[in-house]
């Protein structure tokens, strides 16, 4: 009889942690799906300006990115501290922008090729001269839709 007697103590039964992995997995899957791995690491300083009349850039597959800014600390020895253009993973001259756009455009599927947008991610301290050169190049290859990527915020903060 005493063999089967239950221990009767005042202790609460421990909370079952069996479902913990499930919860964690749920979170895991959420973050796995929303994660966008950066395909190119930034080699330029890229503090975007602020603007408040912005439009969202939907559909990432239709966007070609161009980065402009001062080379970061580690590249300044080699490339100097003047703002540079970064295409994919390397620095480029304005004259190479056209070829890059054409190459990127060729990679996209046929039906997207006419609706591509070029997103210019430009550091707010860059000079307009370089941007104008890029714009000229874009016009040459008929990539007319551009988006000046900005942070959302008060535009007058750019001036400080």
């Amino acid at each position: 009889m005493s063999k089967f007697s239950k221990k009767k103590s005042g202790e609460l039964p421990p909370v079952s942690t069996a479902s913990l992995p499930d919860i964690v997995f749920m979170l895991l899957f959420f973050f796995m799906t929303v994660t966008v791995m950066k395909d190119s690491s930034l080699k330029v300083e890229n503090v975007l300006p602020n603007a408040n009349e912005v439009k969202k850039l939907e559909k990432k597959d239709r966007v070609i990115y161009i980065y402009v800014g001062k080379p970061t600390q580690e590249f300044q020895k080699v490339f100097g501290s003047e703002p540079k253009i970064q295409l994919n993973d390397k620095f480029a001259n304005p004259s190479e922008v056209g070829d890059y756009i054409l190459a990127e455009r060729a990679k996209k599927s046929q039906e997207l090729q006419n609706v591509l947008t070029t997103a210019l991610k430009v550091d707010k301290n860059a000079n307009m001269g370089l941007i104008s050169d890029i714009k000229q190049e874009l016009r040459k290859v008929n990539a007319l839709k551009v988006n000046y990527t900005t942070y959302e915020g008060d535009a007058f903060r750019n001036l400080q």
């Binding site: 964690v24 912005v54 439009k55 939907e58 941007i131 839709k145």
Partner: protein, 204 residues
């Protein structure tokens, strides 16, 4: 010794740890990118064929010049950035020749004839800071948006920017989209965005 059949169960207690490890990895690497910005169309390199040179009256052009120090010359007056939006709106909304029945401007005969004819021309120096340029762009787009919002509010009782955002949102249902398309188009035609970007001047 009695032996139970089958392999012993694998202890799944450490599964949570593994999952946590992965979770933390993804948590750290995640950047939920929210790219937003100012959409612009560049002018085509070659002008469209068989278009004669259109003569644009000087009064229909609102010239905005930014110099390398970030100072602003709007319509030949030194202007503060904060008052640019109001000035641009006054210019667009002027309705000088009386042909615009929705304009609420001053109908000054020295300023623009009609919002459909009014052009804002933006010119900048090569040494202008990009931040300043974006601020100016933002103000000019803002001027258009404010006017469009006003008209949309009058005609449809809601803001133009909201309508456009809903129209561009891929999750919007098709029938809603078709409905919005008409309205958005109509408002855009009332105040067409004619923002020309001249080529930059070289430093002098």
């Amino acid at each position: 010794m009695a032996r139970r059949a089958g392999a012993p169960e694998v202890n799944a207690g450490s599964m949570a740890d593994i999952a946590f490890l992965l979770l933390i990895f993804f948590l750290v690497t995640t950047t939920i990118e929210t790219d937003a910005g100012l959409d612009r169309m560049l002018p085509p390199m070659e002008p469209p064929e068989n278009v004669e040179d259109v003569v644009i009256k000087q009064k229909n052009i609102f010239q905005v010049n930014i110099n390398k120090n970030g100072q602003l010359l709007a319509d030949e007056e030194l202007t503060d950035l904060k008052s640019l939006r109001a000035k641009a709106m006054a210019f667009l909304d002027n309705g000088g020749d009386g042909s615009c029945n929705y304009c609420k401007g001053k109908k000054n005969s020295e300023s623009s004839d009609n919002p459909t004819k009014a052009i804002i021309s933006l010119k900048n120096d090569r040494e202008t800071k990009y931040g300043t340029y974006i601020t100016v762009q933002n103000e000019l787009v803002g001027a258009y948006n404010d006017l469009r919002n006003r008209e949309a509010q009058r005609l449809y009782g809601r803001k133009f920017t909201d309508m456009e955002a809903e129209y561009l949102n891929p999750e919007t249902a098709q029938n809603v989209k078709d409905d919005l398309k008409e309205k958005v188009k109509k408002i855009q035609d009332l105040f067409p965005q004619k923002l020309s970007e001249a080529e930059t001047s070289t430093a002098n």
